[in-house]
Symmetry: C2
């Protein structure tokens, strides 16, 4: 597995907080660093940025690239339980355990000061990883997340093939299900473009906001009129997200 890393200048002097970014469908470990426009603000705030790839790349599996919505570049941040995916597609364990251990062992990461965010499929990943591991992540946010995957075509298709038809196993990977049962310590920031063509069918942030409201989870869902699903939208609000995380991470640990 490849991952991208940005280490800020403050790391010459001391260990620094780590902010993980999970990318969306079709992306790689470099997409965030090319298109996210995060590095200069991260340098000011003293945040290390880590972005993993969106799926295993080897070995290739039969049918892994039949669709851009499943398989190759579309790991959905779950631990697959169905053959043939279960052998290699274990992105949830990779993101929440293996990768942080690798970072801790090899880069100047401040213990106890990690946050996570992401976009689209990666927004789904960030929300579910954080809600299930509030002891590991002190902050979380998302751009245009797939916020209720059990209720949208992308999520149902991926969960069926990775996890099987039994929906009980899906709930642990559905942010709208999780947020009704788990309280994350701190506000969850979500930015969503109002002109995003995937909004009504695939993303469903209103489901997440409604579930959070019922459970008392603080959520700041910002609908941004006119913005679409792409990285120009993400760039525009990137500094806001980095500051959201820095407020929880800098000085922590």
């Amino acid at each position: 597995m490849k991952f991208g890393a940005y280490v800020p200048p403050q790391a010459r002097e001391r260990k620094v907080p780590v902010l993980y970014f999970l990318s969306g469908l079709t992306c790689t470990e470099e997409t965030f660093f090319i298109k996210g426009h995060a590095q200069s603000v991260a340098a000011q705030l003293g945040l290390m940025l880590i972005s993993p790839d969106t799926s295993p790349r080897e070995p290739r599996l039969p049918g892994d690239a039949d669709s851009w919505e499943f398989g190759y570049s579309a790991g959905f941040y779950v631990d697959a339980t169905m053959a043939p995916w279960r052998e290699h597609y274990r992105m949830y364990s990779y993101v929440t355990a293996e990768l942080p251990e690798l970072i801790a062992a090899n880069l100047p990461a401040l213990p106890g000061a990690s946050g996570i965010f992401g976009h689209s499929m990666g927004g789904h990943g960030a929300l579910t990883c954080a809600l299930r591991n509030p002891q590991r992540y002190r902050s979380v946010s998302a751009f245009s997340p797939i916020a209720a995957p059990m209720r949208c075509p992308w999520g149902r298709n991926a969960f069926t093939r990775y996890l099987g038809a039994e929906m009980d196993g899906w709930r642990q990977y559905d942010a709208s299900e999780l947020v009704g049962a788990i309280r994350f310590p701190g506000t969850i920031l979500i930015d969503q473009g109002g002109a995003d063509k995937f909004l009504a069918e695939q993303l469903l942030p209103e489901q997440f906001a409604a579930a959070a409201l019922r459970s008392g989870q603080p959520v700041e869902l910002r609908m941004q009129p006119g913005y679409d699903h792409g990285y120009y939208f993400i760039q525009t609000f990137m500094a806001d997200h980095l500051r959201h995380h820095a407020a929880r991470l800098v000085g922590a640990g």
Copy 2:
């Protein structure tokens, strides 16, 4: 011809200065906006950003993609005089005349307040366009420019095929030749990576600096140790370049 445009929020209220960015070999009109990480600082400074494509895209000409160093995506910002290129490869006229007229007619551009910069082949283009048109451009800078194209393989190959073997016609497109004869009003800022693999053979900024020293042209050539030829280098110093231009452009016009 396609071009990319970023219009800052200040343009809702008034006309704004225009900063042109010329890209390097293999790039398109979108490369700068994806990889340059310029928009957020341009928004603060109130600069419109315009980046043209690096060559005509249609019609395709015989042999235009035989090499990444010539033809398609490699117009070298000259007006070709040799067949078949001379019919369509007129990038110098496009950048210095046709495109600014198009911008002036269609976007809220402040008259008399334009600057130009670029990278590699586009750094060459920015320097030559500015030196030959100091009345049109109030500011100029470059990242890793091909600073003496008559003395490097990229330049000699392109000029021979676009302009013919007679070298007298080349001088008007060679920044190191021009800067010995023309004085640009204002300091020319150049950033160059010290670990750039093209530095010694293709870029030759020391030739430009030496010619400028002889003619009295103020140049700030910053050698940046450890940086290569890519856009992560450009991103790192992008804000410096935008401020260099804003200091000459904002309030001008």
